[in-house]
Amino acid sequence: MRYLGLRFLQSIFVLLGVSLLSFVFLELAPGNFFDEIRLNPQISGATVASLKKQYGMDQPLPVRYFRWLDSAAKGKLGFSFAYNAPVAPLLWARARNTLLLTASATLFAWLVALPLGILSAARRHGWISHACELFTSALLATPDLLLALGFLFLAVHTRWFHAGGMFSRESAGEGTWALSKDLAAHLVLPVAVLVLGSLPILLRHTRAAVLEALDSPYVRAARGHGISPWRILFRHSLPAAINPLVSLFGFSLGSLLSASLLTEVVMSWPGLGPLLLEAVLARDIYVVIGAVVFSTVFLVFGTLLADFLLFAADPRIRTEGVA
């Protein structure tokens, strides 16, 4: 428990550091939101100055940082210039869409990767293993962007899938069932892109971890004592292979918010991706900082969860922790 408490404290410091760094870096970047406004000849310099004052942008960096911390503590995460609203609700509405997308993609990717990885390790010279290797190499060499564009091309030409967006215009105002059906139809393509993008890494890690466990001396010894292959796979090899996979799972949880940014922009999914892109282009700094801090929270939470799962999964860590 002491260990977990320490980890928790550590994560708070990580969050503080990340927010401070994003402040400093965005300050270093040339230009700000008000420079864009100043370019408009219809707005006088006095108006811009008063706007700046109104948003507190005339203050020095440390003051602004502490004000932002105060607003973060109140759950607002600053104020968006472009949307003229607190950042947190704005982010949250988009993050929900992103999470829906990435969570289903992660789920499907693991559902495919685990059995395939285990199977291709158990039959290491079988055709499934070779097919997986070929397939993952090809996927690794394909940029996600190309995949997304390829799928869009397919969708537009065949009209089998919805290309972009989250809901169809016609489905507005219909029942929950029809809405979720429409949502699922829109999810297919972006989820497919994300699954294909993350599958090679998950598959290869699973295969490598199970292979390593299968080659370990105690698995050989168990085989020598006549233990059945199924029991060897499930009782001996999988528990040994689970550690790297748990860490990987924590990481994939941690990158839930940031993994799909590009795909969202290309597939026009109304998630964090497009919002962040607009905010960066418009120098809407509090939205950018909010999004960065938001995804850091997820990353930290994911690794924390992975540590906790490792703690639960490995009896050695448990006993050593107690002793």
Partner: protein
Amino acid sequence: MTPELLMQVRGLRKVYAPSHWWRKRLQFLALDHVDLAIQPGQTLALVGESGCGKTTLAMCLVGLEQPDAGEIWFEGKNLLPEGRRRKAGVRCEIQLMFQDSAGALNPRMSAAQIIEEPLLIRQQASSKERSELVLEIMAQVGLSPTWKDRRPHQFSGGQRQRLAIARALVLKPKLLILDEALTGLDLSIQGQIVNLLLDLQASDGLSYLYISHNLELAGQIADEIAVMSGGRIVECTSRSELYTRPHHPHTLALLASLPPKLAYSAHSGG
């Protein structure tokens, strides 16, 4: 085969030909026409340098490797019937102990679980009978029953070796193959384990196939010694015969590598 033999091996041959589906690699002849005979209640030592095929032979005998040719007879049964793969059933009577006892025990299982596991494949005993059997065997190899919930890393090297012996013995085998089982242990633990093995042989009539590159220790526990080189058995005689009248140059080389005093004491029957 001769009826009084426990195990007889005739013309065993194993070729390693690691090949991929796109290319064939060079073949390696690991076992070349190996003949062996093990008497019940006796110890045969198999001595040879690293890479001469000792472990491959052990793997073939327990069924972890499939030999390419030859016969293995165990108690009058042919373990390699023509055209059929070997069944797991016979392995109960032939157990193998590996060199690296620390690595050969699953670090996630408790001592009791490790010893009990071979019993599970028989599935005759109830779980109560199984745990009784485990405690009995632990006492037999000199492990306190109160340690049954410990994990392998909580045991010392010698205790782990005893744990490995307990696991090999729990199925009541007739032949125990010890593949470098005493290598890497310090001398006092080696002595303890050797004594334990000799006691078990006296009480249960176990046979051992003791595989080692160490002629010195082999001389202490074996009734017969077979010298292996390059996948072949080059010499197989009784212990005293080997030390007094070695034939093969390889045996001479092995004997010459012993420290002089030890060679003398082994010679004089120690």
